[in-house]
Each structure stands twice: as structure tokens, then as C-alpha cells.
């Protein structure tokens, strides 16, 4: 059954359709939520549940303008922001310049996953959506409700910050 039919059946309350869609998208959603939640990735399981619950409630408003997956990612982004506002209000509100990253011990390099987790939320969103999940800036602009220029700028600064963490050459 193609995805549109599964979505329609899910809207009708068919459990098999929900489980089929879950099998298709939950692994990438879960990884996405874990990365976006950074240090709070232990919240990813609850967040995943909330995303599906919200998706089911709002499914009637899904018009298929984006893919179902992109739509789910949009819900996931919003849920992550809500969670981070609750568990770590300082982190979600600080901008890049305010946020001082704790220096790593001299002589140690951190891996990419840890580096992403240490990024400020808006940079994390940019780098995860664009570089990991291959969303275009146009899609990211819709998902995050920002303009494309901001998306590009966030990505550029996120990459620079990652280089600092990991120790690669700058542009």
C-alpha cells in the first residue's frame, strides 16, 4: 500500500496503517529527536510518542503539500523546542554569542555526535535537518518558520562551530 493510502487509513483510525507508518518513519524520527534534544536525548522516547499523538490529532489538516515524513519532522521540531523550553529554558533562549561552550580538555577531540549535541538549538536544527537528513533550505524554512537566508546562515555558523569542536580547517 502506498503512503498516501496508509495516511488515509490512519486518518480513519486503522491501527494497521498507523503501525505501517510507524515502522517507516519512527527510526529516523527517533534518531532526529535524539539529536535535536542534545543533552536531553533521554526525552526522545516520550517526544516520539507525543509526535505521533499530535500527528494523529492533526492528520485531518495534512494536505500533502510536503511529504508525510517532512510533516512529521515539523511536528518533531516543535515538540523538541517545547521540551527544551521546559527542561532547559536557558539553552533554548540563548543565542550563539551568549552561549559559551565548555572547553574540551586539551589534546582531546570530541566525536561528531557529541559535537552536534553541544551546538545551540537553532544551529543543531540547521545542521541536522540539512546535513544529516538532507532537507533543502526551502524545506527547512517551512519547517522552522524562518526564511531561507536565515537557514543558510544558521547552517554556515553551525558548521563553523562544529569545526571548532572537532578541530578541522575553517573556510
Amino acid at each position: 500500500m502506498d503512503e498516501r493510502k496508509l495516511v488515509a487509513a490512519f486518518l480513519e483510525g486503522e491501527e494497521r496503517a498507523f503501525r505501517a507508518l510507524y515502522d517507516l518513519h519512527a527510526p529516523s524520527l527517533y534518531a532526529f529527536l535524539s539529536r535535536l534534544l542534545g543533552r536531553h536525548k533521554h526525552e526522545a522516547d516520550d517526544a516520539l510518542q507525543d509526535v505521533w499523538l499530535r500527528a494523529a490529532r492533526d492528520l485531518g489538516r495534512f494536505r500533502g503539500q510536503s511529504s508525510f515524513r517532512t510533516w512529521l519532522f515539523g511536528i518533531a521540531v516543535n515538540r523538541c523546542r517545547e521540551i527544551l523550553r521546559l527542561v532547559s529554558p536557558l539553552e533554548s533562549e540563548l543565542n550563539e554569542d551568549d552561549l559559551r561552550t565548555e572547553p574540551e580538555p586539551v589534546g582531546e577531540r570530541i566525536d561528531l555526535e557529541r559535537a552536534i549535541a553541544r551546538l545551540p538549538l537553532r544551529f543543531r536544527e540547521a545542521v541536522v535537518l540539512h546535513d544529516v537528513y538532507q532537507h533543502t533550505h526551502a524545506e527547512i524554512a517551512v519547517l522552522l518558520q524562518i526564511d531561507e537566508g536565515t537557514s543558510k546562515s544558521n547552517l554556515s555558523r553551525a558548521r563553523a562551530r562544529l569545526r571548532d569542536f572537532i578541530g578541522g580547517p575553517h573556510d
Binding site: 491501527e15 494497521r16 503501525r19 510507524y22 527517533y30 522516547d45 499523538l53 490529532r57 544529516v132 562544529l162
Partner: protein, 161 residues
């Protein structure tokens, strides 16, 4: 890190959530009425069997217990001084004649209403409904009626269907 996006594409994009998560979500969705309960396979089979029986029942019942369509009415009149037979005798005859005789009632002597006085001195005292395929068959039933043996008068009429 020479090419950021290439490095990042290499990192894992999927992580399997805990097994219990899907059931927990399904439970929450059902609680909110957003998901119908998934019935076990054996329950579906049972439901399907019951549905088939329900669908087939009217056909079976109609076939075996088809309501007879009376095509004739046998009117029973009592002339003056008619002694008549017993109600049980008539009932026994009707039972023996089934399925040709499909109904009948005894009428009270009291006239509830008449638009004009009846001219006949014979009282209509009962009737039988006969489901016969033709006049000859209906007539054979009528001639066999015990009412005639007791001196009564019968009239057989076709019912307009």
C-alpha cells in the same frame, strides 16, 4: 573535517526506538479515540462467520419459512337453524389441509357496523385463506371443508393480488 556535509551524511540517521513505544502510542491513540482497536485474527474470523450467518439468515428463513400468500378466501355462511361442527373439528381439518389452508378465523355473530341491513338470511360466520395455485385445487379444498358436511354454505373467491 574537510567537507562538513559529507562527514555528517555518514552518521547514523536511524535509531530503533524501544519496542514498547509503538504499543504505548497505540494505547494513547485508542484512549483518545484516534485509533480503532485491533482485534486478534481469531476474533476477526469469528466476526466474519457471524456476519455471513446474519447476511444469509433472511434467505434461509425465507426459503424454509416462506410466508404463504393466500390466493383464495373461503367464506363460511350459516343458514338459519345451522347446528354446525365444533371449532376443534374445523381446526383439525385446516391443519390437515396445510399448506393449502394457510389461515382462517371464526367471526362473531355481532355486527359492529353495517352501512345498510344485509339482505341475506345466512350469516357470515368465518373464513379460511387458501394458497392454491389454481381454481381447481382451491375448489377441491373448498369441497372438502367440514362446513359443507354440517349443512353450511361456502363461497370461494379469488383474492386480487
Amino acid at each position: 573535517m574537510t567537507d562538513d556535509s559529507n562527514d555528517l551524511r555518514g552518521i547514523r540517521r536511524e535509531t530503533t526506538p524501544p519496542d514498547r513505544t509503538v504499543d504505548a502510542i497505540a494505547k494513547r491513540l485508542r484512549r483518545e479515540g484516534l485509533l480503532r482497536r485491533r482485534l486478534p485474527r481469531r476474533v476477526w474470523l469469528l466476526a466474519a462467520a457471524i456476519a455471513m450467518i446474519l447476511v444469509a439468515t433472511p434467505f434461509i428463513v425465507n426459503h424454509e419459512q416462506k410466508t404463504p400468500q393466500p390466493r383464495y378466501i373461503l367464506l363460511l355462511y350459516e343458514p338459519a337453524g345451522f347446528a354446525g361442527g365444533s371449532r376443534a373439528e374445523y381446526a383439525h381439518w385446516a391443519h390437515q389441509m396445510s399448506p393449502l389452508v394457510v389461515g382462517g378465523e371464526e367471526l362473531s355473530n355481532d355486527v359492529v357496523m353495517a352501512s345498510s341491513p344485509t339482505r341475506s338470511n345466512e350469516h357470515l360466520t368465518g373464513y379460511f385463506l387458501i394458497d392454491a395455485r389454481d381454481d381447481a385445487t382451491a375448489e377441491r379444498v373448498a369441497r372438502n371443508c367440514p362446513h359443507l358436511r354440517h349443512g353450511g354454505v361456502v363461497v370461494l373467491r379469488r383474492i386480487v393480488l
